[in-house]
């Protein structure tokens, strides 16, 4: 269960202050997939960075399964991130000189999983996203965009995090591949029991989510 209350983030730039996230309050259940929509520059990525513990909020509370995360320092954020947060990016962002399986093994290493369990877990996740056999030995450059995003989803879920944050995961894919990726995300969310937040511009994809949130100039509201 994710409970966010009164979250604020302001960037101080030469051109003036940008209130990227303003008084954001919402909650999401485990296994739930929530879509976040909004115009460019409305603060979607900034909100994900705060929830994913990549950045510290100026104010507010982030409660994940009863643990307060908003006040962690950089070291604490790194540690919690490795155990509780998985990311899926628009640009896939796989590590280029590692194979698909090695990419999935990375978060298991950072979350200090027992060595003996890592490969089994990586292969389990690769199977879950439909990537089997020889393809898991390939480097990212030898996989299609859709396949790379599958690996990225497997990597995000690998260490059994509570929270999956996907920032436009279909933005670099064609429509049908994007559909497939969202389906995989959705089913992984329920299989793994994690909360998935998906930022998207795509109306059709947003409709597949359990709920929709809209953000406008940093202000979040529930869409009925």
């Amino acid at each position: 269960m994710l409970k966010v209350e009164n979250l604020n983030k302001t960037f101080h730039t030469r051109a003036g202050d940008i209130h990227a996230v303003q008084n954001v309050t919402f909650s999401a259940d485990n296994g739930e997939m929530v879509a976040i929509v909004g115009a460019s520059g409305s603060g979607k990525s900034t909100l994900l960075a705060l929830l994913g513990l990549l950045d510290a909020p100026d104010q507010g509370s982030i409660d994940l399964d009863g643990v307060e995360l908003a006040n962690l320092d950089a070291g604490g954020r790194t540690k919690y991130r490795s155990h509780q947060v998985g990311f899926v990016f628009q640009q896939f962002n796989l590590i280029p000189n590692l194979s698909a399986r090695e990419n999935v093994l990375l978060p298991l290493e950072y979350a200090r999983w027992p060595k003996a369990d890592r490969v089994r877990r990586a292969d389990e996740m690769l199977a879950l996203v439909g990537l089997t056999g020889e393809k898991s030995e390939r480097r990212p450059t030898r996989l299609s965009g859709g396949e790379q995003q599958r690996v990225a989803i497997a990597r995000a879920f690998a260490a059994k995090p509570q929270l999956i944050l996907a920032d436009e995961p279909t933005g670099s894919l064609d429509k049908s591949t994007g559909q497939k990726i969202v389906e995989i995300l959705r089913s992984a969310a329920s299989t793994e029991g994690a909360t998935v937040l998906v930022v998207t511009h795509d109306e059709k994809i947003a409709q597949q989510a359990d709920r929709r949130l809209e953000i406008d100039d940093g202000v979040l509201s529930e869409v009925a």
Binding site: S45, L54, K79, H83, N93, R155
Partner: protein
């Protein structure tokens, strides 16, 4: 691909440093050995005096003995050279009349044959207060004389005794105990020596006081050798001797000769030192820039790793491992190439630097005097040797000296070179790593969510 480029450039820089280091070491070793072999003597001759061909006013024993009071002087060896013509002695010169003339004048049409047979060669008589070293040094042109039979005379002796060179002894059938006449006195041979040179083995050595009396040259000295306690004091003592004797004497230390011989070596040393530091600085800058470039290029990758929960130290460790791999690979390749190149590079440096300076030392010091003495003793039409011949001979001597000095440079890799190279590689790796670390720490993980 880029990594290979970095390794190659690094290897080139390190190879250059290593070969410069080795060249520098080789030159340094040579300089030290040349320095050490030059000895610690300063030759003092009356102004304008060459060998015993005359010229100049002789120095006096009093003046020369005064040099003993100078700082850092351990001994002053004095000698008085005279010529024993056939009118003055019963001895016959072993040098065949005109033989040197023929040698020197051989290319001169009709040079020697007419007058040579009637010309009698003079024998050199050296009065010395330091038997054993009387022939050493530029003006007397020989090595240490070793007795093959008999015994030496005392430095302060004034008896009518002599040591004769083995060539002269053979020619005149002299043995220890034999006698001969010189300036009307009967002289007893007390010993026979070998100094390693035919010229010097044709000389007669007698106590300084005896020769001063016989030649009516009381208190006179034609050559003094000042022995200095330490090589590093030779130049200061040379100045002091010059100051003490003023315009009366020519003061030459072997150091002057050696200095000009060492000039090309010293310039190689300078070149290699500058190149060495240039190469090291170059290598460091190359690695620094490459690390900066590599980390910048992989900024996103670093951001992703941070987003996945990688602690800074794990990312830093990975980059340090990479920069260390570059450095180690580059160093190993560079080290091997450097060692292979050090010999050709050293000789290239030598041939580039020695051409310009080898002509200078040809006219200095012992070589000239030696050739002059030889020319005189050759007699006949060789009395005035054709300049070409003389200079050729002098030139040979010194060109031989210089080229020998330079070609016998031995390049070798000492343990200090290895340690130095290792430390350089470490420092460069540390520099490259710290650049990587500084950049990695500054990358904010949130950057990864920004689209490029």
């Amino acid at each position: 691909m880029r990594s290979i480029g970095v390794v190659v450039i690094l290897a080139v820089a390190i190879a250059l440093s290593i070969s410069m280091l080795i060249a520098r070491d080789a030159v340094n070793t040579k300089i030290n050995s040349v320095r050490a072999s030059t000895g610690t003597t300063i030759t003092v001759t009356p102004k304008g005096f060459f060998g015993f061909s005359g010229g100049g006013t002789p120095l006096t024993t009093t003046e020369v003995n005064g040099l003993l009071n100078l700082k850092n002087v351990t001994a002053v060896q004095e000698s008085l050279s005279e010529e024993l013509s056939s009118n003055d002695t019963s001895l016959t010169s072993p040098t065949p009349a005109g033989s040197l003339g023929q040698r020197f004048g051989g290319s001169n049409p009709g040079g020697s044959s007419a007058s040579a047979p009637t010309f009698t060669i003079a024998i050199r008589l050296i009065g010395t207060n330091s038997p054993g070293n009387a022939l050493v040094g530029g003006a007397n042109g020989g090595g240490t004389e070793k007795l093959t039979s008999g015994a030496s005379f005392s430095p302060t002796s004034d008896s009518d005794v002599a040591l004769v060179g083995q060539t002269l002894a053979t020619k005149n059938k002299l043995k220890v105990g034999s006698t001969f006449t010189a300036f009307g006195k009967t002289i007893t041979v007390v010993g026979i020596y070998n100094s390693g040179s035919t010229f010097a083995n044709s000389d007669v050595l007698m106590p300084l006081a005896t020769v001063q009396t016989l030649a009516s040259a009381s208190g006179q000295v034609t050559n003094a050798t000042v022995v200095v306690n330490n090589i590093s004091n030779v130049s200061s003592v040379t100045k002091a001797v010059t100051a003490a004797l003023g315009s009366k004497a020519d003061v030459t230390s072997t150091e002057a000769t050696v200095a000009s011989e060492l000039a090309p070596l010293n310039s190689i040393k300078t070149i290699s030192t500058y190149t060495l530091f240039g190469a090291i600085i170059g290598a460091a800058i190359i690695l620094l820039l490459s690390m900066l470039m590599i980390v910048r290029e992989r900024r996103r990758e670093v951001g992703v790793l941070k987003a996945l929960g990688a602690p800074n130290r794990s990312i830093i460790g990975q980059f340090i491992a990479e920069s260390t791999t570059f450095t180690v690979l580059g160093s190993v390749v560079g080290f091997i190439v450097g060692i292979l190149l050090s010999s050709p590079i050293t000789s290239a440096l030598v041939s580039a630097t020695s051409n310009s300076s080898s002509a200078t030392p040809a006219f200095t010091g012992g070589g000239f005097v030696r050739a002059g003495g030889g020319g005189f003793r050759g007699g006949g039409s060789g009395f005035t040797p054709p300049p070409g011949g003389q200079f050729a001979r002098t030139g040979d001597f010194h060109f031989g000296g210089v080229s020998n000095t330079l070609t016998t440079l031995h390049t070798s890799v000492g343990s200090s070179t290895l340690i130095f190279a290792f430390v350089i590689a470490l420092v460069i790796a540390a520099l490259g790593s710290s650049v990587a670390v500084a950049t990695i720490v500054r990358i904010r993980p949130a950057e990864v969510l920004r689209s490029e």
